[in-house]
């Protein structure tokens, strides 16, 4: 119960929370762009983890090279996913699209098992396995890398949406597709770019979390569900909500596992989710549904 243990848990929680936040952002950006929850979002983190393991373990590529190739691969993956799972159904209601994302998710999971086998793989660590000692607080350096990379990505994203015309066009598309078209904004392109970016966020999550977990076909499902909880806790549709919701769940999870029960570690995200839905259904940053109409 000393402060150094608590601080260690805060860092571990923020690191896990960063992963949830990255995937939750993917959920929110795609939802804002096409009004559909992409249930394959967790797989957007599973696929790059396998790709990265393969590149590092079988091709013996360096970590930096692996990152570059994985990000490019996931960018292309985003376009292909959009073309297959969303584009043919874009003029239909949300239901066929949701089912289609679930379907592609199942395909990806089983595809991963077919190619890489059912055995969990471990990703080589880019960081030393020795914990760093910050004045008595022991921290896994991978956690620091996760937090710093997430901060860098969020900084980039802030710049992109606040300062670039492409970012503004994507926001405009998310807010009013018809008006965007009237202004000559290529809505279909903006949606494709959104899928690419969400998929790259997944690449970051997958590469960052790989070294601290085993890489399995089911890793995406757990991350995806927790990230989905994060975006609802933060307020679905809200970008800051997704980020803070993810960090919040990550920290709560670590503390609850330590102080309450480590066996029920995975349940706490859902307990928080239920509490938020009961007490503040619009989420921490969400607007009330009535205001949205």
């Amino acid at each position: 119960m000393d402060w150094s243990t608590n601080l260690q848990m805060v860092v571990a929680g923020l690191a896990m929370g960063s992963i949830y936040a990255l995937v939750a952002l993917g959920f929110v950006l795609i939802f804002n762009a096409v009004n559909v929850v992409n249930f394959a979002q967790g797989e957007f983190a599973m696929v790059p983890a396998f790709v990265a393991v393969w590149l590092m373990s079988y091709l013996n590529l360096s970590f930096a090279m692996t990152c570059v190739i994985t990000v490019v691969f996931m960018g292309i993956f985003g376009i292909v996913f959009e073309r297959i799972a969303y584009y043919p159904l874009r003029n239909r209601s949300f239901l066929p699209v949701i089912i289609s994302t679930i379907g592609v998710g199942i395909f990806l999971k089983n595809g991963a098992q077919l190619i890489f086998g059912a055995e969990p793989l471990s990703m080589p660590r880019p960081t030393s396995p020795e914990a760093l000692n910050f004045f008595g607080v022991f921290v896994d350096p991978q956690y620091i890398v996760i937090i710093l990379c997430t901060l860098a990505l969020l900084g980039f994203q802030y710049f992109f949406f606040e300062k670039t015309m492409l970012g503004k066009k994507m926001l405009a598309t998310a807010q009013d597709k018809q008006m965007a078209r009237l202004l000559g904004i290529r809505v279909a392109t903006m949606i494709a770019v959104t899928f690419v970016y969400s998929s790259i966020l997944g690449a970051a999550a997958g590469i960052l979390v790989g070294p601290i977990f085993f890489v399995t076909k089911d890793m995406g499902a757990m991350i995806g569900v927790k990230a989905f909880c994060s975006s609802i806790v933060g307020g679905f549709g809200s970008i800051p909500g997704a980020i803070l919701g993810g960090l919040f769940l990550g920290v709560i999870e670590v503390f609850a596992a330590y102080y309450v029960s480590s066996a029920y570690r995975d349940a706490f995200a859902f307990i928080i989710l239920i509490l938020v839905l009961l007490l503040r259904p619009q989420g921490i940053f969400g607007e009330k549904i009535a205001e949205k109409a």
Partner: protein, 254 residues
């Protein structure tokens, strides 16, 4: 410059336009009048490419644009300020204006800044509030921003759908003054209005729609003098009907 020849547009099984023909000449203000549901907005949306006509032909500067995508139509010089303003609520006034310039390809930053200045000259309030988000603006400010955003396209023709809807009388006066000003500066205007008298006072010609057909087409002066027009669209009685309808619209819209 814009010629619409016998277009028919359907919403599913409902036919909204039953063969509308009208034309707008360079430099004109043309008013498109009629009651709710007459097909005014449908006509505008068909011209912009958001709706596809089942029959008929739309020509712009001699080019057949029937069936073209909305994005392409925006790029060839047709800008639209749609009904309900449609300002992006989560973006600032300045962002909304800058997005209006999307259809312009190969345009210098200086030129866009010059147009921005010109719009701030017409609507000083927009400059004052340029950092505010769309949802923070009042109805009048939203309409000014919508027109300003339409102007940023520097289009050859501007389609305005119900610019006076839901605005206080003083603001309506202001909006109509600006429309005239824009027209004098060289932009051709197709103006959809329920406020027939105000629209005809600034228009060169007018077309009156009724249940998807053109019932009357004449110069603005003749329409203002027309007995039938006086009775149905211009009289004091018409104004009361219109006001009632407007209140109903607003309730339905809110």
């Amino acid at each position: 410059m814009l010629e619409i020849k016998g277009i028919e547009t359907w919403y599913g099984a409902i036919q909204a336009l039953k063969g509308i023909s009208l034309d707008v000449k360079q430099g004109e203000i043309v008013a498109l009048l009629g009651a709710n549901g007459a097909g005014k907005s449908t006509t505008i949306m068909t011209v912009t490419g958001m709706l596809k006509p089942a029959k008929g032909r739309i020509e712009f500067l001699g080019q057949d644009i029937t069936g073209m995508e909305a994005e392409e139509i925006a790029e060839i010089g047709i800008a639209c300020v749609p009904e309900g303003r449609r300002i992006f609520p989560g973006l600032t006034v300045l962002d909304n204006l800058m997005l209006g310039a999307t259809p312009r390809k190969r345009v210098s930053k200086e030129e866009i800044q010059k147009d921005l200045k010109r719009i701030f000259g017409i609507f000083p309030q927009l400059e004052e509030f340029k950092g505010r988000l769309g949802w923070q603006l009042s109805g009048g400010q939203l309409q000014m921003l919508a027109i300003g955003r339409g102007l940023m396209a520097n289009s050859k023709i501007l389609l305005l759908d119900e610019p006076s809807l839901g605005l206080a009388p003083v603001v309506v006066q202001e909006v109509f003054r600006v429309i005239q000003e824009i027209n004098k500066a060289g932009t051709t205007i197709l103006l959809v209005e329920q406020n027939a008298r105000m629209a005809l006072l600034i228009a060169n010609r007018g077309f009156v729609l009724e249940t998807g057909r053109v019932m009357l087409a004449d110069t603005a002066a003749n329409l203002l003098a027309n007995e039938e027009m006086k009775q149905h669209y211009l009289g004091a009685h018409a104004h009361i009907k219109e006001a009632r309808q407007r209140r109903r619209d607003e309730k339905a819209g809110a």
